[in-house]
Symmetry: C2
Amino acid sequence: MKEENPTSQEISMKWYANSLSKALGLKYPIIQAPMASAASVELAAAVSNAGGLGSLGLSYHKLENIISDYNKITNKTNHSVNLNFMTHKNPSINVTKNKKFKNHITKYYKEYGINYIPKINNTCETFNTDQLNLLLHMNPKVVSFHFGLPKASFIKKIKEQNIYIISSATTVEEAKILENSGADAVIAQGFEAGGHRGTFHSSYKEGEIGLFSLLPQIVDNVQLPVIAAGGIADGRGIAAAFMLGAKGVQLGTAFLTCPEASVHPLWIKALNNSKERETRITSAFTGRPARGIVNRLLREMDGKENILPDFPTVGSIIKPLANSASLIGDEDFLSLWAGQSAPMSQNIPARDLIEKLVKEVSDIFKNIKNN
Amino acid sequence: MKEENPTSQEISMKWYANSLSKALGLKYPIIQAPMASAASVELAAAVSNAGGLGSLGLSYHKLENIISDYNKITNKTNHSVNLNFMTHKNPSINVTKNKKFKNHITKYYKEYGINYIPKINNTCETFNTDQLNLLLHMNPKVVSFHFGLPKASFIKKIKEQNIYIISSATTVEEAKILENSGADAVIAQGFEAGGHRGTFHSSYKEGEIGLFSLLPQIVDNVQLPVIAAGGIADGRGIAAAFMLGAKGVQLGTAFLTCPEASVHPLWIKALNNSKERETRITSAFTGRPARGIVNRLLREMDGKENILPDFPTVGSIIKPLANSASLIGDEDFLSLWAGQSAPMSQNIPARDLIEKLVKEVSDIFKNIKNN
């Protein structure tokens, strides 16, 4: 009885009952990273229903699909949900560069017998007025941004509706900028993290900082709650992040192998076969640095990144190639985003994963020798 | 009374009283990294006397200085001491490459009015029979090796004397090799670490793994006790490392600003002014990748590392230049080794640092909400 119905005082003594959980309306301060298309409505809803924060990455969505996905998720959960948008600079179109890049890629297209290379175009909008208006209409509990924050006038409107604002920092400098620009919490994104580096102000090289170093230094330099991301895959990682001062954690790769996620079977296979040393940061797939499992395109574009057009336009040429290749079981051109802890993935449903993570942390904390 | 004289049962309940402390004969499983010349006899003795494991890096020493330093330290402490040697491949001398490199460096020599560029030579021996015989004669409690382990016949002799053997791994693969080659404990050296990457089997790029990912994956794949290194600068970092399964920690940069260390004032100044984003991994100073604070040589050699002769011969050309430059207050050519947590350095004596670290961990563990 007692364990099933803890008193509020008992709950307040749990490691997970902290200011961040309270602010986000969560049982557990465990966030599932948005991960654009890989984070399905089903995954996000399952995470939120299990007491964590489910997230939807919406930057690649058409406006009408944003609303329909949001409706779907609110039908599946009454709990807090995070909607994520990208805040990159709009790409500048460089005709010469685009041509050079298309020429370079032609050989791959030929290999797969594809005659038509599509026009290079913008595959996802940076956070704009239309998205803002939709966001204000949907009015989720939380919004997160990648690559910095939108402009001040946008932030002002979001804050007027008390939507909780999160964004990622890869340096202390960036964390301070986010704090001064209206963020309510900062994600410390370690070098270990899969997918796109959130770097938006420091140089990409400056932003390559392991979580062990980045997290405590951000905690020491901002007042906001700090959420740890990068390489966290189990209860040990969550416990460690809390020791370093995190108030919450964001896991991406760990959720990719949940059956609810929308991940290409070749990507799942790569995750399950991957080794800790087999990921790299590359711009080859989108034009912006992101960590994924080494495959052919990543390997062959290494050192040639100067020929890449701006983010996200590279994707408009690579995606069709990846699709054709994957049809014949070939992972060579898929962006196999993964963090350095990918080999620790569990392949279990999101609810089970959340419960397992929480139990692992509780057990670790119970067993600390401390007299 | 009770606090001053804890019973053995009480001690066994402390977080620091574990199998590694016991095996190394330590009160605290906190190792001061060898750091070649920067780790003085005074520093190592102070650390050992404070309950940690002091280390001396001896590869750059002449044989007679090895003995005299060992005698000095055993006069200063009765506690366990770690002697460290490097196990790199002997450099191959490539006359054309050496000439090209000297030509490239000439401009810097001219800038400082130095007319004579020395012959490129081997500045430190890889662990050899002479060093082995000395080691067996000195018979310290612990020996650690960087860049792998010496050959099996050497390991056999060391093991016959029950000297505890430690070496660094930067991938799971390397940790397994160390375990199978006779190591008694493995250091998981995260991407954050200052100084030379311990990478000896995997490629350098493969070995760039953040400690959050590397540590638990090594713990899961070897039976040996694992020592965490890289980015650990305070009690939070030690507590986090223990959460991830470490049985001990090795701190390098954190000890550089202790007054007992033998560190050039310009290096200390750079450490005290550094930011978390201002270190890089470079081969510019020695021919082998190592993390240091960005300065002129590091910046100007970026992308030109293919012209570098083998480790450690690069140092024979860079060191004299660094010395001349530093005489006029110029840090441009000094190897300013530092990890990514350098800004967290404390500038306090080694004993105070050890006591502070231990108290911080104990306080953190006491305050965990865990009901």
